[in-house]
């Protein structure tokens, strides 16, 4: 069954809110930029967990109750920065310590009594699931309809052939948050083929889709966009077009092109 998951057509990128294009810095606060993007038709925001963005979302929640928030998890750039000092498990434990024991109990982190020990045992899918809980806590008030695995994490796990991590992520998104699981990737074809081979039920893939074929490499004699076609025709996946233009802010014609292509149900824009 080709079920479409309803998401806004025009989705704003969170990174572009905190780091807008240098030629487009009008509206000096994140809130002002977000408000402006909504006026220009953005129906949702796809974002990593970021304090400034959380604050802006809280401020506009009543005014725009229909606005869709799509979390990207985990916050890999922040995690990598911490891991430079403390190692990966250490960085996970620090996150846990920050919410505190009672905080973790309140969050319902499964096996909270065991969480630090589990982190120390270095089971990566478990580290990932603890990060998921910690970060989703910040997003739960926005009732996200879908949650996305961050692209570096997803592509690393893809290269390492880690079916279990994707399966655990999908299960956690559905069972704990009633959210549709999705992945961000810059390796659309390989990702879709693997998810299918592994029989992991993740329909939403947010991947580069643009006229310049940027990050859409040829596969043998098949051009990037041609290689997307059979996967999308299979009806097993729903493409959210990312990096739709090499220019920032995203030009209107790039958005039209992506949405009129028939390949993507939504597109990510930057401001």
């Amino acid at each position: 069954m080709n079920r479409m998951i309803p998401l806004p057509k025009k989705i704003l990128s969170g990174t572009s809110l905190t780091h807008p294009a240098p030629n487009n810095t009008a509206g000096d606060s994140v809130s002002a930029r977000l408000e402006r993007a909504i006026e220009r038709g953005a129906g949702g925001l796809m974002t990593l967990n970021n304090a400034e963005i959380q604050q802006a979302l809280r401020e506009m929640k009543e005014k725009h109750p229909e606005f869709t928030v799509l979390p990207v998890i985990p916050n890999v750039p922040e995690f990598v920065r911490e891991a430079t000092e403390y190692g990966m498990a250490g960085a996970g434990i620090r996150r846990l310590l920050r919410v505190g024991f009672m905080g973790a109990v309140r969050l319902g982190i499964f096996g909270v009594f065991k969480a630090p020990a589990v982190l120390l045992q270095r089971d990566f899918p478990t580290i990932l699931s603890v990060l998921f809980e910690l970060e989703m806590n910040e997003f739960r008030k926005f009732n996200p309809p879908a949650v996305f695995l961050q692209n570096q994490m997803a592509d690393l796990l893809l290269a390492l052939n880690n079916r279990r991590a994707f399966a655990m992520f999908a299960e956690q998104a559905r069972d704990r948050y009633g959210a549709e699981p999705g992945v961000l990737t810059v390796n659309f074809v390989r990702m879709a083929e693997k998810l299918k081979e592994w029989d992991v039920k993740i329909r939403l893939i947010c991947a580069p889709f643009n006229r310049d074929q940027f990050l859409m490499p040829d596969i043998g004699d098949v051009t990037g966009d041609e290689s997307y076609a059979p996967i999308l025709e299979s009806g097993k996946f729903q493409l959210i077009a990312d990096r739709i233009s090499i220019h920032s802010p995203t030009p209107d014609d790039a958005l039209e092109w992506a949405l009129n292509s028939g390949a993507a149900s939504s597109a990510i824009v930057s401001c």
Partner: protein, 336 residues
């Protein structure tokens, strides 16, 4: 590719970079991961739980004693260990790709280059992954072909928002890393300058120092490339707001025009603007905002050099030493 004809790669050091190299070795058709090594056994376990399907060893000796066929090693340990481990791998007959910098001191880097020269039948490579970005290669080619005439001056900078408090870990110690932002991050930009202008440079002056950590958090240097090459300024700073990912930029003034290069764009003062999308074609990209294309191309280059007789890696240990000499000269000016 049939597994028997793939190169067997072992990755030594399973921290942040080691994980990335394991992923790349698994993704590249010419290579397969045959073993992983780290002193810390928990990291072996962690890597397995990340999906890596290769036996773990706690030392290079143990790995060499147990694994029947290892063709090459990727060294992703801290730089103060590169010399001992690199020499050990070469002596055991392996080809070696070492993460940058070649070593934490010039003396170690010189010893490594000498060891590589002694084992001339082995391929050595150094992890200057930015030098594998097709856009930077294109920029160097155009510059050489006279795109802006003779280069006269340049301004080069790399900025990153990373260090805003005293930091823990070997990366932030002179003893083990060899310095701060210059040797850990800014060395990529030094390398890019050598790609553009040649492997020797005279460092006229340097200024900078610690801001938050125990090593230099920022450095500015004035450099002159010999034989009529350009002069210019170099700056590296990892304690500056507004750069969630590393931002590199080189502006060059020539006698017939100007060009500017970033990781995304190559521009000419005549209005030509080339985006990396025209050149990036890697079959797998681990993270385009953190050097994704570079990691893949770097390993592919290393593998091709091993497979094809008579070829060296694009950036070998001799090249790594040339870059280290410039970095060392910057440190000496900074200290002097």
């Amino acid at each position: 590719m049939n597994p028997a004809s793939q190169l067997n790669i072992c990755v030594i050091g399973l921290g942040k970079m080691g994980v990335m190299h394991c992923a790349m070795s698994s993704a590249l058709p010419q290579t397969q991961l045959c073993a992983v090594v780290d002193r810390d056994a928990k990291l072996g376990k962690q890597l397995r739980s990340m999906g890596a399907d290769a036996p773990y060893f706690n030392s290079v000796e143990a790995m060499l004693n147990s694994v029947k066929r290892v063709d090459a090693a990727i060294l992703a340990t801290p730089q103060f260990t590169h010399r001992a481990l690199g020499e050990q791998c070469l002596a055991a007959g392996l080809h070696v790709l070492t993460e940058k910098p070649l070593a934490h001191t010039l003396a170690d880097a010189e010893a490594m280059a000498a060891a590589a020269a002694k084992h001339a039948d082995r391929i050595t490579a150094i992890g200057f992954m930015k030098g594998h970005y097709p856009l930077w290669i294109e920029a160097a080619r155009r510059l050489k072909d006279g795109w802006i005439g003779e280069p006269e001056s340049f301004k080069a900078s790399v900025n990153l928002s990373q260090v805003f408090k005293p930091m823990k870990g070997w990366t932030f110690t002179k003893d083990q890393a060899g310095g701060g932002v210059l040797i850990n991050t800014g060395i990529h930009l030094v390398h890019l300058l050598t790609m553009l202008f040649g492997p020797d440079a005279h460092v006229i002056s340097a200024e900078g120092g610690p801001v938050h950590s125990a090593v230099e958090d920022r450095i500015t240097a004035i450099m002159q490339f010999p034989n009529g090459g350009p002069h210019g300024t170099y700056s590296a700073n990892w304690s500056v707001e507004g750069f969630p990912t590393e931002a590199t930029r080189v502006d060059i003034e020539g006698d017939a025009g100007r060009m500017s290069i970033t990781d995304d764009w190559l521009r000419h003062s005549d209005g030509t603007a080339l985006h990396r999308s025209e050149f990036d074609r890697a079959a797998f990209n681990a993270s385009p905002d953190y050097g994704g294309e570079g990691w893949y191309n770097q390993l592919e280059d290393f593998a091709q050099a091993i497979i094809q007789d008579g070829r060296t890696a694009r950036y070998d240990w001799q090249y790594g030493l040339a870059v280290q000499r410039i970095v060392d000269a910057m440190y000496r000016k900074l200290e002097g």
